[in-house]
Symmetry: C2
Subunit: 335 residues, 2 copies
């Protein structure tokens, strides 16, 4: 299996992608293609001992930064690392791609270059969020605004397949994000989506509310990408503030620093719960081949998790199963 | 000043409302009217030493529980405590009302009985959320779904007046909740609202994102009530999960319990940050007289905060100022 990595994207590029790629090529039984400026990557690679048989560099002259307008940049910068990587994926020169760079550019490249699965109206970004009951999926986490009910149904189907295959959750539950639990609650979109989810091939448990995100009530949370983005960033922001408050609690003086030693195990568990790095990247579901968005601030550990996730994404045939499911739904629709 | 309290609403009624009312009548220079079943309230009141000159009971035979359909219940249960209280407020038999009961019923009673301020399209529920920079307002936090841009502009105006008057924040900043900071980001609603907020009589700082909620980037966060409800409950849910994790960290054994003593000051500050009780209730802004929703799980301390807030709401003439602002906007619109 070959994973294509945009080595130029993210706050810690190229160090983090390269370090993670070296580790992955040794430990995960994968071949890695690093896409970006050859000299920069070579210099970074020279710091490590690695098996160059499992590691290829493909040169890309350009980079799309976080401040560029995504659609325009993807169209005009043919030599940008994310564009080169997407073209390689499209042409079958790899089994999955991963980028920590400009989110919009990756989504655009996924949509326009890698392409949608036939029948999928809009691919969706799926994020794993921490919860009291382990990682849960939020889909769409920000690829699409102004969604229709049919989009939300497809998000639920794709998310369920991913959670079943990649996270080995049997018959994953699906919750529809709303402003109340009762069937009648919601805005126009969720009210229209509710009956459709009842008839969809998913384990639908009804409306859920914001508090269910952290409580982990549903394995898959389906919503419009505007709402999903707000949820994701609210949780991330709260994680930062809370973590720094907890840290501050122990940093007030010598005695409180000592106290930290006494609760070290609990403190580590707490950190782990709040740590997005454990959960890898956010898969874009609905494209012809696996595309994964790593967090912009990913360190090598987070990139490694995302590579591991990309491997599982490929191995467990998520994309094939989405294709089959959509086809069978379309067949039913034609009856 | 007279505050009308629905003594039958909330998880801890009548104990919490009555205890808080007694304390408020002593400490806050307010007169209190407790609405509900006389015998039940009398029995609760008998536990305290209080000045009955400052405390009236008005009998209400019925209660609207949390499980009832709000609009229907308000229309059919004329003798319900929240309905009786709203009618008293409408008739000028009090200056503000407070209920910890069925949220939808209170909103309906506020809208249908107390009534909208002329020119206000939809009253909005405003919640104070904790942030790294102190309490910030989320409006609408769940009274309205499927909002229009004019609603969001009015929410911003009303919220700004409240924050300026009640929380003494000079020239409060307003952020429009969106899925990106740039002006072009958002869904149809926020894209239409952005230019209108630029021209509104508020200190508009542009789009904000979910992470800005806890970071406290804006004093007033304006959004559709569906989105606001999701944010509010996501934050509440995360608060619960995080607090129990932190608590668990210290409860593992004797040594970790001892450690808690060493960080007591920090731990208390942490608790305070996560504690909605500090912030009183959620004002319904845009009704002819002040209506406040206390949290359903309010204890006496939280009810007391909400009474204090109701007093400030009245004293600082929030309602009058909203009326003036809306009139002057309408005058401008007629130019």
């Amino acid at each position: 299996m070959k994973i294509i990595i945009d080595a130029m994207g993210g706050d810690n590029a190229p160090q983090a992608p390269v370090e993670a790629a070296v580790k992955a090529s040794k430990e995960l039984d994968v071949y890695i293609t690093l896409v970006g400026k050859t000299d920069v990557i070579e210099k970074e690679l020279s710091k490590y001992n690695c098996d160059r048989d499992r590691m290829t560099i493909v040169h890309a002259d350009d980079v799309i930064s976080n401040h560029e307008e995504p659609a325009k940049a993807v169209r005009s910068k043919r030599g940008a690392s994310v564009v080169v990587a997407a073209n390689m994926l499209k042409n079958g020169e790899g089994d999955a791609m991963l980028s920590m760079g400009n989110r919009g550019a990756l989504l655009t490249a996924g949509l326009l270059i890698v392409g949608r699965i036939k029948g999928i109206l809009r691919p969706a970004l799926a994020t794993l969020l921490p919860s009291a009951k382990g990682p849960k999926m939020l889909i769409d986490a920000g690829a699409n605004t102004n969604c229709k009910s049919d989009n939300l149904v497809q998000f639920a189907i794709m998310g369920s397949i991913y959670m079943k295959n990649v996270l080995a959750i049997e018959n994953p539950t699906v919750g529809l994000m709303s402003n109340g639990e009762e069937e009648g609650k919601g805005d126009e979109l969720t009210k229209e989506t509710f009956p459709k989810l009842k008839n969809a091939p998913v384990n639908f448990i009804g409306n859920i509310e914001g508090r269910d995100v952290m409580e982990g009530t549903a394995d898959v949370i389906t919503c419009d990408g505007f709402v999903g983005n707000v949820i994701l960033k609210t949780v991330e922001g709260m994680g930062h503030v809370v973590s720094s408050k907890v840290k501050g609690m122990f940093m007030r003086g010598i005695i409180s620093r000592l106290a930290a030693l006494f609760v070290m195990k609990g403190l580590n568990e707490f950190k782990q719960t709040m740590d997005y790095r454990e959960y890898g990247g956010a898969p874009l579901l609905g494209t012809k081949r696996p595309v994964i968005k790593g967090h912009g601030s990913s360190d090598a550990k987070a990139v490694f998790s995302a590579i591991y996730q990309a491997k599982k994404f490929v191995e467990t045939n998520v994309t094939d199963e989405i294709v089959k499911n959509i086809n069978s739904m379309e067949d039913k629709g034609n009856d």
